[in-house]
């Protein structure tokens, strides 16, 4: 064994001993006495898994998998060539067709999951404007989702305003909330911004939770109307409620597509470039005449608008809202999607939403472990793939990463 290898295994031994010391007290010390069985069984599983990974890593270092490299490289090159030959519009059309045909091919449960995924795609894209494009870490993003949801919920219940009218109203309200939150925070250092937005997110939730007369507090708002529509039937237009899952699916699909187009356009617009300039080097951007404060505020407001739209739909779909849906963990989820997918990348965010919402539905038995795994994956991703699963193309190296 080389010195490096033995060092590696020594490190492994220390890490595993350390892990046992951390694990056992949590599981093994009981008032009735000390137990070892459960913690040892978990520990063994982890230790074996880690040993296998480490062994594979060593074999790879040793060149054992070199015979695999050539075929895999050839395969990925072939796949790339094939992808390059298929025109982009064709690929997009295929995806759109799949999305449109989805409800006809699947059943209720799948519709339900798909609707969640689409809601989170809108949220992810909205947050992506703030985090990915403008580089502002927002940990209270779900507050805008809440503002949108409550705006529609209250307008619908008290004034019976229609969903379609409330959509722009809720978007406006969220944008205003975004500006209110953004204004005092945007002069702050990047990492302070994170904790302050987190605080604001909590404030919004606490206010919703305690303002009984307006929001009915923790009991939530009931009786929210579905989106309505006029349908041509028997020679006249007739008002119907779009409350089947299929109909809702098409509504959110439309909203998501609008969002994708809007964010795509934004990405390549003058403002999008200005966002990037601010993200990469604020001082230089200012010297070039970019009003950074106003631009950041705009990013906040735009992100908030998408949050508000998603929130409005969420309220209409659930027909019920309560503060529980707007906790910090939801903000963290949306952020995890953006980070996992690739900051600033539209397909990345879509991929991230699929991975974080649809995948756990497949492994339903492991519901409990979902956030646990997310947290771990988030930390590990930062080490091994900090740019995400599908990194944005135009995004250059951040100025602080270069040095």
């Amino acid at each position: 064994m080389t010195i490096r290898a033995s060092k590696l295994w020594l490190g492994y031994g220390v890490a595993m001993a350390w892990f046992f010391v951390l694990l056992w007290p949590l599981l093994g010390i009981k008032a009735e006495g000390l137990e070892f069985a459960e913690s040892i069984s978990i520990w063994l599983k982890v230790a074996v898994a880690a040993a296998i990974l480490l062994g594979l890593h060593q074999l790879k270092q040793g060149g054992l998998f070199r015979f695999l490299e050539k075929p895999t490289q050839a395969a990925s090159a072939a796949a790339d060539a094939l992808a390059a030959r298929v025109p982009r519009w064709l690929a997009l059309c295929a995806v759109a067709a799949c999305a449109l045909a989805f409800p006809m091919l699947t059943e209720r449960y799948a519709h339900d999951v798909a609707i969640s995924v689409l809601v989170y795609i809108i949220l992810g894209l909205g947050l992506n404007v703030v985090v990915g494009l403008a580089g502002l870490l927002d940990l209270g993003y779900i507050a805008f989702f809440g503002v949108g949801a409550y705006t529609y919920a209250l307008l619908s219940v008290h004034f019976e305003l229609s969903f379609w009218l409330c959509l722009p109203i809720a978007a406006c309200f969220s944008a205003i909330a975004g500006c209110i939150i953004g204004y005092p925070t945007l002069r702050m250092r990047g990492d302070y911004l994170a904790i302050v937005t987190l605080g604001f997110g909590e404030i919004v939730r606490i206010v919703i939770n305690n303002w009984m007369s307006l929001t009915n507090g923790p009991n939530g708002v009931l009786g929210i109307k579905s989106p309505g529509a006029y349908w041509f039937k028997d020679g006249s237009f007739e008002h119907i409620w779009l409350n089947s899952l299929e109909q809702l699916y098409y509504i959110i699909l439309g909203l998501a597509m609008l969002t994708i187009v809007a964010v795509y356009r934004l990405n390549y617009s003058r403002i999008g470039r200005a966002f990037e300039a601010v993200r990469e080097d604020q001082t230089a951007a200012e010297l070039m005449g970019v009003n950074t404060l106003r631009l950041k505020l705009l990013a906040y407001a735009m992100g908030a608008v998408f949050g508000g739209i998603a929130g409005t739909f969420f309220a209409a779909r659930m027909k019920f809202v309560s503060p529980e849906s707007f906790t910090f963990i939801e903000s963290a989820m949306v952020l995890a999607m953006v980070v996992l997918g690739g900051m600033g990348s539209i397909p990345g965010v879509i991929l991230g939403s699929l991975a974080l919402i649809a995948l756990p539905e497949v492994f339903r038995g492991f519901e409990m472990y979902r956030m646990f795994v997310f947290g771990g994956v988030m930390a590990v991703m930062m080490i091994f793939r900090p740019k995400g699963l599908w990194p944005a193309k135009r995004m250059g190296a951040r100025s602080e990463e270069r040095d």
Binding site: E202, G375, G376
Partner: protein
């Protein structure tokens, strides 16, 4: 008047706890410029270790004082090891990455640890074994429970010990030197990795003590108990001037007082909001805090 005095007693108790947690934030920020989101979870883990160890020791028939003391020390050691592991796994490999990456990694660790606690300890509250410390006494109409006396005295002892460590010992000087200039401290022979590890361990031990005492005070712990106090303690650290150890102590005390008085005189439903509002106001109007920052921010 009695009400005021009572609020003062409660405010000092709570403020001491925030001060202990705030120190971990401020020390870590001072040395590697990271908001350690996982710190609140270390505090929660401390609370759980307290329950676990005290329940076990209590069942073995040891007297309460010994249970408490032994559990405190053992749990502090446990949390120190936990925080060092977090640092080694999630932060050290990212020492040369962008700040956003480290921050997200910290957030990931926070979620990971919180859910790890939930998976191993359950979703519901876990109670401390009944009536460890009971009773109290009255001073000018205000009731001071013995638990409060314990909290305040343990806090004072720990704060004094920390002050001695940081300002009087060789290792404390090395910690401050590393926070001020990592390259230069390497050039005089200080191993900065080891010092950073130690900083995490000390911060975690203090947070752990706070977690145990809060658990004892309220009688139970919960897996997500670290989240809100974490933000408040961070607010305290910012209020005192991030990186400033004395500032964190004063900031913690102030935040505790403000919370208790706001709950008592304004509205108890909105008590959590006040800490956040202070955080925002401080960052907006005096971003370096009341005692001044001690951060050499070479990366901004």
């Amino acid at each position: 008047m009695e009400f005021l005095l009572q609020q003062l007693v409660n405010g000092i108790t709570l403020g001491g706890v925030y001060a202990l947690v705030a120190l971990g934030y401020t020390m870590v920020y001072g040395i590697i410029q990271l908001i350690n989101f996982a710190h609140g979870e270390i505090y929660a883990a401390g609370g759980y270790m307290g329950v676990i160890l005290i329940s076990w020791l209590f069942a073995q028939g040891y007297p309460p004082a010994i249970c408490l003391g032994a559990a405190l020390l053992l749990a502090m050691g446990y949390c120190a090891l936990l925080a060092m592991a977090v640092e080694k796994v999630a932060y050290k490999p990212l020492r040369h990455s962008s700040r956003l990456s480290v921050l997200l990694s910290a957030l990931g660790m926070s979620i990971f640890l919180q859910n790890g606690l939930m998976l191993t300890q359950g979703v519901y509250d876990r109670a401390y074994p009944g009536e460890m410390v009971q009773g109290g006494f009255e001073v000018a109409g205000a009731v001071v429970s013995y638990m409060q006396v314990i909290i305040v005295s343990v806090t004072i002892v720990l704060l004094l010990a920390l002050n001695l460590l940081v300002f009087k010992t060789r290792i404390g000087k090395a910690m401050r030197a590393t926070a001020q200039d990592k390259t230069m401290s390497a050039l005089v022979g200080i191993n900065s990795s080891r010092i950073i590890s130690l900083t995490f361990a000390i911060g975690a031990a203090l947070a752990c003590a706070a977690g145990i005492m809060v658990g004892l005070y309220y009688g139970s712990v919960r897996y997500d108990m670290g989240f809100v106090p974490g933000i408040k303690a961070f607010s305290a650290a910012v209020l005192g001037g991030i990186g400033n150890i004395t500032g964190a102590m004063i900031g913690g005390l102030l935040i505790g007082m403000i919370e208790v008085f706001a709950a008592g005189y304004i509205s108890s439903e909105y008590k959590d909001v006040f800490a956040f509002i202070i955080l925002i106001a401080v960052l907006y109007f005096m971003p370096t805090g009341i005692m001044g920052e001690n951060v050499d921010d070479t990366r901004v």
